[in-house]
Symmetry: C2
Subunit: 206 residues, 2 copies
């Protein structure tokens, strides 16, 4: 089988096993891709969409706004070739030397300092969090203080310390987001959500 045939068959299997899921036609391609990426049907129950999330994501992508990730893994997983026609840059500042210096100096995490460094770039763009609760918490803080203006947050920190808590906090805010409840998530999931939005952005019917 060719890669496209494998994907088509995979989606068919997911559609079949997730019958009666209740997601709408714009949201389902996102949920389905997370399941495709992880083989984990938990996302059926745990994913959460802000009402403006899909539209905000499509507008950001089509406008060529920057996409910023908290990890190199998430950056790697994003379909950068598909973004070329839209002109979006995909940025990850986690390995920048000034970010490491600031984290050391301030006793914070590199993920948090990478958010601070990315404030100008994230305006109107998408911030993709696949790992660090500290990045997500800092984003919420800056947005609440009207110091940062991303169009959309994909919030999928994973783990046992503050991941679930940071996502629960995101849900309390009127910020366009796609996120999930609980401990699960990851850079693969975050990149998968972004890739689903890229594919929706290529759909001329939407």
């Amino acid at each position: 089988m060719k890669p496209q045939e494998i994907e088509t068959l995979s989606f068919k299997i997911i559609d079949n096993e997730a019958q009666g899921h209740g997601f709408g036609p714009a949201e389902w391609p996102v949920v389905r891709r997370l399941i495709h990426t992880s083989a984990d049907f938990d996302y059926l129950n745990t994913i959460r969409f802000h009402k403006d999330a899909i539209a905000a994501g499509i507008t950001a992508i089509r406008s060529g706004k920057p996409i910023i990730t908290d990890t190199e893994m998430a950056r790697s997983g994003i379909r950068k070739t598909a973004l070329v026609p839209f002109g979006n840059r995909v940025i990850c500042r986690i390995s920048d030397s000034d970010v490491a210096d600031a984290a050391k100096k301030n006793g914070t995490t590199r993920a948090l300092e990478a958010v601070n460094r990315s404030v100008p770039e994230m305006e109107g763009g998408i911030y993709v969090v696949g790992n660090a609760p500290t990045a997500l918490l800092r984003l919420i803080e800056l947005i609440q203080a009207q110091k940062a203006f991303p169009a959309l947050i994909l919030g999928f920190p994973v783990g046992f310390v503050n991941a679930a808590e940071s996502k629960a906090l995101l849900l309390e805010h009127d910020i366009p987001y796609i996120t999930n409840t609980g401990r699960k998530g990851g850079s693969n999931i975050a990149a998968g959500a972004l890739n689903a939005l890229i594919i929706l952005s290529m759909d001329k019917q939407l």
Copy 2:
């Protein structure tokens, strides 16, 4: 909390929730890291170790043998800085132009052709599969035919078409492997397994 404190606390939580797991002292750090990476305790029940896997992995890393991945995401997720003292290269051929050409010409996948192209490099090294069943199936085929000689396979293809089947086939062979049963897996999981082996390799008591 600093990153190291977050990791320590996370491991404590996992140790606590997975009490009575029955894994030995060499295997548990690998299983625990997969759970840490995914927040998915399914790996407690689904991970499988060939009896020589841990020793083969540590020897390959300490000998500076190449580490080859099937995806750029897995390559991104590997702690390359920690490998510097050992001198291992981390290679991913999925984006090589000759790999894409061969896949097109032969009607195969890039992941399979990347395996073919990596045969000389994988001798004594570790092949890390985080996505493509076709890569894992081709590896098994080449090893059985005594045409490829990796020291260890980390086999974690994910998905709905041939992922579980390719891993079940790996389990039937006397090839050092770490893998899991079922559909789950991914580049994050594969990189996590390799990172656990790197940390074991740094332990002078082993």
